[in-house]
Amino acid sequence: MIKDPQSCIVRKESWNDYYLLSLESPKIALEGQPGQFIMVRITEHSHPLLRRPFSIHSIDGRNVEIFFLNSGLGTSLLSQKKTNDTLDILGPLGKGFNLNDHFKEKDVVLIGGGRGIAPLYFLAQRLSFLGASIRIFYGGKTLADLPLKDKLKKTGFKTFFSTDDGSFGFKGLITDFFKAELEIFTPIHIFSCGPEPMMAKIAKIAQKKKIPAEFSLESVMGCGIGACWSCVRKTRRGNKEEWVKICEEGPVFSADEIIWKEGDK
């Protein structure tokens, strides 16, 4: 956990409202694990006041990459940053995905919805290193919401794309595409990040098929380091239900820990 007050933007890519920033930060790049996040200060002024949390999208040598959708004041200002600008970042923060050797030569599935694809790219890289057989499901509203499809295809992982309007890939929800594919194969583990209703549905499918699953949750955060208790989520451990801090005990939680919001079940 370090503060890098002057991390330099060494590369920037954009696709409509989606952006990728590559930030030079050797120490965070060395320590960061898939599923962990960084807190980015948007401005040195007082509006917007708070840092914004971003999953680590990838680590490229000395650089930490984030991928985001321009969806509000913070991300809008961040999207206007240019190469060679510097950003004040904290990281790596939180607990990431559970990676271990037993994924070797086994089928694992990664399911990303919209900007939720962000942490799964880094995860796929590391799982690939562990020798896992990887299938990536990537869904969006339209073709414009699948900016990373070509990048994912190039990796050589098996890729499955869906759009709600059928403008690219399977027409419909990524969860339906995934469910259909489960007729053909059974993964030993599911990793997912995306809209809550999507993840809740995947959790249900995983539970039914008794496949272990992990989800990266999103939340507004105050500090990102466990001090303010703003980013809580109700979780279940044993018989005990309690609010736990997403920044500290997550953002990745296992399916059996998460209590899905009403209406997402």
Binding site: M1, I2, K3, R41, S46, H47, P48, L49, L50, R51, D88, L90, S219, V220, M221, G222, C223, I225, G226, A227, C228, W229, S230, C231, V232, R233, K234, E242, W243
Partner: protein, 304 residues
């Protein structure tokens, strides 16, 4: 060399900068980023007697130069605090202040009574002003009588100095401060957050699940500064100023207006090194202005 130390009478601080309760966890969360020993002190997150679940999320809404929180004082309670946290704070050489909460008057007494037996605490800060625990933001600090009752009950049994943290959500802050002083409070920290709300116009729902929350950050600084000036002019006990301090210059405004020390809150969330930077900036100011001892500038506002 500037002398940054501050003597509150009941407690000597290395410097006037204290990390504020609710923004600094139990202190340890910040040890990866800063040397806690450099602080004047820190106030740990508010403690009720028993563990507390707090409010449902969303608990936070960002507003112009501020943020509204409705955490609801989720916390681990006095027993776990004493067993798990206090022993780990023992090795730090700084003032460790415990923020004491209560759902009712007797609970403040129970918390202090329990903590009296534990070592490693420099003072208690009585949180009679959290707006997030009862509907509508009710708390003892809204009336001089209730303030007097809680402070005097705690003072009767406390083996440590008591700082009373007041609410700004009152018509006459001086009246409440005088009441805390009369009840025997050793100092006043001024102030907690402003009761506030924010609305999501797309959904027409409040941005906080609790509807109301407490506004903090730079947005509130000028109002609290005015209150600190009013109160410091009327009470004999030290006033600790807090509200929107982001820089050394902000802290200096409070000191000049009459605060003997300051607490830094919201800034910790944005920059875990904020307290240290503020201390450095205070020192720079003193060096630049030939001030040998920072206490010299307390209450030196020139009004004529």
């Amino acid at each position: 060399m500037t002398d940054l130390s501050i003597d509150l009478g009941f407690l000597k601080l290395k410097n006037p900068v204290i990390a504020a309760s609710g923004t600094f966890g139990y202190g340890l969360e910040f040890s990866p980023f800063i040397n806690l020993d450099k602080l004047g002190g820190f106030v740990v997150k508010g403690l009720y007697y028993s563990p507390r679940q707090g409010n449902p999320p969303p608990r936070l809404a960002e507003t112009a130069s501020g943020l509204i929180n409705a955490i609801g004082l989720q916390g681990i309670g006095v027993e776990r605090f004493s067993e798990e946290i206090l022993p780990r704070l023992k090795n730090y050489n700084t003032a460790i202040i415990v923020n004491v909460c209560g759902e009712y008057e007797e609970e403040y007494v129970s918390v202090v009574d329990f903590l009296n037996k534990k070592e490693g605490i420099s003072a208690y800060e009585l949180n009679i002003s959290c707006p997030n625990t009862k509907k509508g933001g009710l708390c003892p600090a809204l009336s001089p009588e209730n303030t007097y009752t809680v402070v005097s009950l705690v003072k009767k049994i406390s083996l440590r100095p008591v700082i009373t943290k007041l609410s700004p959500n009152v018509t006459d802050i001086v009246e409440i401060a005088l009441s805390a002083q009369e009840a025997g409070s050793d100092a006043i920290s001024l102030a907690n957050t402003f009761l506030a709300m924010a609305v999501d116009v797309e959904t027409r729902r409040p941005k906080l699940a609790n509807i109301f929350g407490g506004l903090s950050g730079p947005a509130i600084k000028p109002i609290i500064l005015r209150m600190v000036y009013q109160v410091a002019s009327c009470v004999k006990i030290p006033v600790i100023g807090l509200g929107g301090i982001m820089s050394g210059s902000d802290a200096l405004e409070y000191l000049i207006a009459g605060a003997k020390a300051v607490e830094v809150g919201t800034a910790n969330l944005i920059d875990p090194e904020a307290t240290i930077r503020i201390i450095d900036e205070l020192e720079e100011y003193c060096v630049k202005n030939g001030i040998k001892k920072i206490e010299e500038i307390v209450g030196t506002l020139i009004t004529q």
